[in-house]
Symmetry: D2
Subunit: 344 residues, 4 copies
């Protein structure tokens, strides 16, 4: 029997991607699609690529018109989620939240998100939704904090080498590159084709809010972690590539780090570890829930480098949310999640 | 009176850019344009954007048909330059070489370029052609080794902070992003639009040949320098952005580093230092000889970050060669070098 | 029970797309994957996006190593198909051929394809594989000539207005725009990112081989049809947009033509007719088997305009081949064919 | 002595391009730079690529703060120009207007521009500013109506063949393709990178306001002209390609039409006629004031095809305005106008 799922915050890119994935999901009944600005429109007006399908005829309702639902998936601005998710939880729904509202300790919100968290108790109860780093806790969670796109890549890249003590986690550098869809769907001069073509630009450095998220996710057992993170915009629509650097803690070679990754992710359907000689490529994971990982060592400088490539809107947002949904519902974790890219 | 200049290796992207810049140069007479594969063709066949101009009618000659010339500019494969440049020097020409053949100590060539240097004595006599780091020696040089594109950005970004002792130069990380023109003009599946669109990829890491070039250029007075360098291809045609990271050697803030850069490059026509709040952008220097620089400090991790943006074919190749040519000829260093980009 | 299908010509873009679609096909067993140049490689070497999947481990065999198979799908150069398809047919396979080798009368090949057809009898037996224009004949065909990408768009756009006598079919103009994947996967300077970015170019005009294909497909009952066709390359990877113009044969408005299209394609799963106000968009059909159509009339000049947008590699090649395969196999025509694009 | 020129409407793409061209103009003194929304800002804030130059420090003033000036160049919305240009003319300035406000007969404005023209008398006095079709009248004009980008290409392509009676001018079809900069600088979802990448779309068809402009410019001596025009957006920043089709009026071949073009534009510095075998390319004219033209005949259908490629912001806007300025000032028409593109 299908599980009832409601989607709140449908008009953005992640919202659209959720519609695409949930529409093909055999175990889910899409109960409500809701959005503040798009309420009253048909879904095909909000996402023209749905026009002419039956989904396109669905009416978008206001967020507060969402009734009882088994699971609510929220793709909303951080501050809105911080308030709405607890309200839904109190009405009995389980919640998967794509914003950053429940990824950090409550105390960190003023500094990193610019607001005092209205529901600090829920930040403590939220489970960080990175299945490859703890799917059991997600399965039982009331509230899942779906990770950020850069954080997904950086944590999956670094966790095995940090856990193994292979690198010094206090001196981690993460250089991120993202397509412009990461900046959202709202029209802006910055993400216009005219401004973006032939443009490579750092942004929001060194204060991007995924920095403490990466640190927290790597800080298992009180381990001290320090991350410097600089994101960059590149002229692509989708795709995140994170290149992570850290000093080796002990002598190790490329093959050693590659083995750490391979072992850590053995059996994972959505993690692909490449060997030396290959190179990760965001194009190869476009539209899929896959992360490509690759490690190498610069022996001249005793530096470990681990690179991750993912689709920011899928494994970095909507796809991971569906993966978490599958865990929460107790069904096959891979249901409705593509692994093969449309290339070229 | 015009100075006679010959251009050898005209068919690639740097060769084409040299033609564009020298065609507008008031003090230069372009004596020969030469190329191995394009010999016998008209320049307008080699570079169709020249068709219909008088330059387009010029015949490309074979490299060994270049006679005596005041200055020869070489845009050739490394190993070819290593042999041809000395031959031209012995015939009395001054040489500006765009390849990597004279940028390193002779001993480094087997490891980094894959060949034994045929003319080790000339590597010692060559002057590294980064005018902002020593224009006097360039002015008097017989042989100028024009810097690599990534190295130009990284050295201009880092030299002032290394010189001032602000960072630890033994733990420098350079994350490079380049458009595909850096891979040259020859057709390859890798640089096709089909493979490059929506693709962000590391390549040739951690063994890119600009690594020792950056180290050497920063190793003033025997200073120990260690650089880990990972280049990436992004879906752009032109543009290099290098993001350089290093531990602070002493407490310093963003403004301190910015001042170091501003002071170091005061009066430089081709270096633009941005303050906090701005962000460098490869689009803004496209087609120009300008480098944009920007520094900031992540005080949480005591990490210095300096970013440089440049056009790999201009300040990273042909434009810097013309800048060096102007120095060699004793004329205004800025002659025929654009500073204003065609935006958008 | 699964039907045995062999795929010959696996290394190009259409071959890769066929692998992607057939891999997800529930009723097909992929018996052999063959290719001349890639024989002996694993499929994951030929298409790196398959690396790490079980399909990626499949070995590519030589075309002549393909044994008996229920259906063979050929994605080969025209002249190779012209010879190989009949050989397979004679061995009892049914054949779906993606090349142009069986789309025209045998007599037309010297002029339009540059070779004398080696198997003229089979050109007469081949069925043109445009399901929306005659799926019954395809279902019973031994040899299906899968249409060209531009022809698919132009014929679907024009056939209803030609059939209804709404336009003068002797004065049809087709202006085509295509992404560079239409030029194939082989590396070429023309389709490099460096040459293609910011470039819009006509090509092979007015002698493109889809011209007689469009004319023939519209020439029902000996109707005289004359088409002028000019294709253009635009800086995209996928996507074909054809804008078809013709003089109105009788007074008609935008709504009249729109109704002709809507009526003609009522019930078609892969044709979406847009009303006035909307505009077709290749992005909206990317990766799908859908064609978007739209008609309008310029009443000032009594000109009908019908526009079609499709994915050249899906509805214009591999997807349509699978649609034809489904018809040939007598299964649901829409099996394994995506209709929802990955946007943005 | 320098001529005083004021620029009104500086914040858009055409305004920026005018700044770039006028900054390098040896005979022009840029008296005022004005803009409604940007008044009070420094020019370097409006166009960040000017930051750090002396021009970047210039303050933008309000349009009504522009005093007496020898020539005013206006890059404003149509309806604003329609009012402001006459006001400036009455104060003694000569005016070059980049909007469509003076390109048509006054009676056409309600239908094509959606407003009643406030100054119908000035539409009759304005001279259409296409130098290659009548530079003498421009030189003496008080008010020059700078042509639209599509119209520039279509008129230059078609006029010689219309004038020679080679085609039937009542059945002209113009298929236009443009990069997104043609839609202006204002942020919009339509021209975002996310919406534009991999997208080819018709727009505003068949009611684009360049249609009557093309017809009027070709209607010499009361000749009857009928144009159907469909513009399309392609994923490029700059560049317009127009493909013009018309029935031949008498037997003629590709070489005949090519000769008509060559003869008509013999001696023109900004028109490049390509022969058969070449193909026009917007990349080759990017950033320049050049139009590339090419003609061919489809003898099967007796159809003439003439294609034009230009940079919509240069020959299609700011460059042509400077060309007209040079004529108005009586100086060398080619001053400060680039003819060599930055390729790739």
């Amino acid at each position: 029997m299908a599980h009832g799922v409601s989607l709140i915050g449908v008009s953005g890119f992640a919202g659209g991607e959720l519609v695409r994935l949930l529409a093909a999901h055999p175990d889910v009944s899409l109960e409500a699609v809701a959005g503040a600005t798009s309420a009253g429109s048909r879904l095909g007006e909000v996402h023209p690529w749905l026009a002419g399908t039956s989904l396109g005829e669905r009416e978008v309702v206001a967020p507060d018109a969402v009734g009882t639902t088994e699971v609510a998936i929220l793709a909303l601005p951080h501050a809105e989620s911080a308030t709405l998710a607890p309200a839904l939880l109190e009405r009995g729904a389980r919640v998967i939240d794509l914003s950053g509202a429940f990824r950090l300790d409550a105390a960190a919100y003023p500094e990193w998100y610019g607001f005092e968290h209205p529901q600090p108790a829920w930040t403590a109860k939220a489970v960080y939704g990175l299945p490859e780093r703890g799917r059991d806790r997600i399965a039982g969670a009331e509230l899942v904090a779906n990770p950020g796109c850069f954080a997904t890549g950086a944590v999956l890249a670094l966790a095995p080498v940090v856990d193994a003590g292979a690198i010094d986690p206090r001196a981690v550098l993460v250089d991120g590159k993202t397509g412009v869809s990461g900046a959202g769907r709202a029209a802006s001069e910055t993400t216009s084709l005219a401004a973006s073509a032939e443009s490579v630009r750092p942004y929001r450095a060194p204060r991007h809010q995924h920095t403490p998220e990466i640190e927290r996710a790597l800080s298992v057992d009180g381990r001290e972690v320090g991350v410097t993170f600089v994101p960059h915009l590149v002229p692509a629509v989708r795709g995140v590539l994170v290149t992570c650097y850290a000093p080796l803690a002990a002598a190790a070679g490329t093959q050693d780090l590659t083995s750490l990754l391979s072992d850590a992710y053995a059996g994972e359907r959505f993690v692909r570890v490449l060997g030396p000689g290959d190179m990760v490529d965001t194009k190869r994971v476009r539209g899929t829930n896959v992360v490509e990982l690759q490690a190498f060592v610069d022996e001249r400088t005793s530096t470990a480098v681990v690179v991750a490539a993912l689709d920011n809107l899928v494994k970095g947002a909507a796809g991971q949310a569906v993966q978490n949904l599958n865990l929460v519902l107790g069904i096959d974790e891979t249901t409705s999640l593509p692994t093969m890219a449309v290339v070229p």
